[in-house]
Symmetry: C2
Subunit: 468 residues, 2 copies
């Protein structure tokens, strides 16, 4: 092992091979602080060639590699287990922007660039990079792609996968695949790019990517809407899709209890409406037109919806500040939840058309088992993605949490499965959902995935124990 570490130091320099606990701790500690991994070392290569060299070395020594971006994942996919047999490979030093091609609306970036860095650079080039999520200040584009991140702009712009045109990947054998194409059409063989995207580092290490840029919208208008039911939210979504077309760029659901929690946390931002409603949605439109034109049009559309009783009340943001306040309400739900105490989280997706029925069925099933459980239901209704989180019964004890968690998971995920939904819409599988995947995916699907894994990583050295 000391020979291996010497070779690592020879490739990376002494300062980028971390073995002391106080140096390695931040890399090995899970984002949610629930678990701590152990590693031979934390390795910090500075470029793709160093990633390739280190990977070759690990391949020779049969040492597993856990690749890591910003360490903001929610399913423990980016930290090693406790055996101490693997190295953690941090991509954060690969943070150069290699090219911005405004005329082609593309940008070639290294895996360790933070999402915010890319948003800012795009903006400076008078373009727009739409991927947006809570951890954007610290998460990296390599991690975003490895987990096919979602976020708040999927309705109009798609997931991370849809925003990527090309990749550079280091294979488990330490070869460098140059798939850095900036092409919007390319039908020359199997789609390797999409195989690496969402593979959670288990097939290779993404070291760079070509991402799409978009023309920057001139204006955006945000509204908060009060609704009597989840069915009304679905009907409103459908109507607004018809009225606003591709201008509609966000449609976020917030249940009454979700807003109540935010009210406790941020009393200065609420109440928006004079009474309480079972559901609210945050809608946003954006376009190349000016603010006044867009706002007038949006207002007209929402008024026809009000007349047709598709919504109960509406507040339209009059300026950027109000828009930001509305978004702050939506984005504070997670924090407000945490303050309220531990809960059982689900990141599920369903066909949007089924969501009202699903919520009702799931709520009934949960209340049958746990009459005093409470639901915090919110999320990206426009994408069919709900964060469907459940507080255990008020009288349950802390030590019962895991048992209750399992029963609540079973209740919710069984129903998701029955409705042809997904048990992981945007967070991925990692370690936390591996057993759930084994339970719900078909035998054939699992076998196909294992065959691909075995073909590309026969020694099982890439992020072992994750995903599959």
């Amino acid at each position: 092992m000391s020979e291996f570490l010497d070779q690592c130091r020879h490739i990376l320099g002494w300062s980028h091979v971390l073995t002391e606990a106080h140096d390695t701790h931040p890399y090995l500690n899970d984002w949610r602080k629930r678990t701590q991994g152990t590693a031979i070392a934390v390795l910090r290569p500075g470029n793709s060639q160093e990633v390739a060299q280190i990977t070759q070395l690990c391949h020779q020594h049969r040492i597993p590699i856990v690749p890591q971006g910003g360490n903001t994942g929610l399913v423990q996919g980016g930290i090693p287990d406790q055996t101490g047999t693997a190295v953690l490979l941090s991509l954060r030093r690969l943070n150069r922007v290699r090219q911005i091609d405004v005329a082609n609306l593309t940008m070639t970036v290294e895996a360790g660039c933070t999402l915010q860095q890319l948003q800012t650079l795009a903006d400076q080039a008078n373009c727009f990079f739409p991927l947006s999520l809570a951890s954007e200040g610290s998460c990296t584009i390599g991690g975003n792609l490895s987990t096919n991140a979602g976020g708040t702009a999927v309705l109009r712009y798609g997931n991370a996968r849809d925003l990527c045109l090309g990749l550079e990947v280091v294979t488990p054998q330490g070869e460098l695949w140059d798939g850095l194409r900036s092409l919007r059409k390319d039908n020359t063989g199997y789609d390797l790019k999409n195989l690496y995207i969402g593979a959670e580092g288990s097939l290779g290490i993404i070291t760079a990517a070509v991402v799409k840029l978009f023309p920057k919208p001139n204006s955006r208008v945000t509204a908060l809407v009060a609704l009597n039911s989840a069915s009304a939210a679905l009907a409103l979504l459908n109507r607004m899709q018809n009225l606003s077309g591709t201008n509609l760029c966000a449609f976020e659901l917030i249940s009454e209890y979700s807003l109540e929690l935010v009210q406790q946390l941020l009393p200065e931002l609420t109440p928006i409406f004079q009474e309480n409603f079972p559901y609210y949605t945050l809608l946003e439109v954006a376009s190349h037109e000016n603010f006044d034109t867009l706002q007038t049009q949006f207002q007209e559309h929402l008024e026809t919806c009000l007349q047709d009783e598709l919504l109960s009340d509406v507040a339209i943001a009059m300026n950027e500040k109000q828009s930001a306040d509305f978004w702050k309400i939506r984005e504070s739900i997670s924090e407000a939840q945490a303050k309220q105490g531990r809960n059982v989280k689900h990141d599920i997706s369903l066909p949007s058309s089924i969501i009202p029925q699903f919520i009702e069925r799931a709520q009934t099933a949960l209340h049958q088992q746990f009459p005093s459980s409470r639901l915090v239901c919110f999320g990206h209704l426009g994408d069919g993605n709900l964060h469907f989180n459940v507080y255990p019964p008020t009288d349950s004890k802390a030590e019962e949490f895991e048992m209750i968690e399992t029963r609540i998971n079973r209740c919710v995920h069984d129903l998701v499965h029955r409705f042809n939904g997904s048990i992981s819409a945007e967070h991925g599988i990692g370690v936390l959902k591996r057993e759930e995947l084994q339970r719900y995916a078909s035998e054939l699907e699992l076998r196909l995935m294992r065959q691909i894994k075995a073909a590309l990583d026969p020694l099982n050295l890439m992020n072992p124990g994750k995903l599959l």
Copy 2:
């Protein structure tokens, strides 16, 4: 063999196992009528279960399968070779629409549905299915997905891949994989769907798919624009992307000689402009607004471009009839070309930003080798996709065509490769471009593809000799 055919007849019934030449001919003859394959039989299953049973049978007997949709492919990917060792499996009888879910904006369809059938059904449901290409009356969605078809709506809506949410696939072993998800977010393992899409039937047989629908735009406006150079076309594209945002849905390049050929074919539709220009583009915007609003806005945008000398002249369609006439000009280029005689075709893509430089360099290189060769350059500039076709020198003999074709291919594709472009933007590889792929793809990329192929189809029974 007769035992095998008897088993096929047992599964499919006598009328769907074709062995007589006059029955099998239309299935075995290439779309461009350049080659004729040979098969043990043409098999016409009626549903996914029959596809699975036939595939199991072929697997037992080690008989290769060539899947076929509408037989409209341009690279000979859908017909067998001349050895007569394979069966041709036609998916055309799988033509049911299983579900339309308007509230979720999705449609579940079988592989043999024609593209036009889907467009019409979407329209009847007051939705829009954007995939559109010349052969839409006869090509099938299974073929569109297996080749990741492009067409004229990619700029706004993406390729066939971007329009598909889920698949049903029969594996080479005859198992039925149910990946028919209608979800816009699903991060539960490797992206099997995108591996089958674009694999040209070499990894399995697509039997059904869930495709995305879109709100139907209320209006569209088309314009033809005259330009002094390819650089001007690029500058106009960039400006219009900024001005019109996602409203811009088509940006097609037409070179002077391309229009000249159409003028000979359809004199009643032309001339549009009083003089000739080196390039023209067909632009289209579509939106949820009414025609008048959209047209006024479009006109304003084009006027600012005229003032800034980004374009030389412009004709805006005043109604649907004129729009259709403009599109007819664009869509008649292929036919007009064929009338003019045999030419060397390329379906290439490049970063849009490089296209003006590429055209100039390629034209110079071609004229050095073949001074009297003539170029027909047109295509989807908005996607960086050119159909870059070359007429051999006027004095060359018919028997020299293949030799000249190879030299012209080498000249064009070498340059495409140097500029990091693709030698097959939307047509795929099939048989026709297999050697070109072997020449230009990296050793590593080819090995990764072969490893995937070997993992999923170890007996090499699925469309052998195609793609790889």
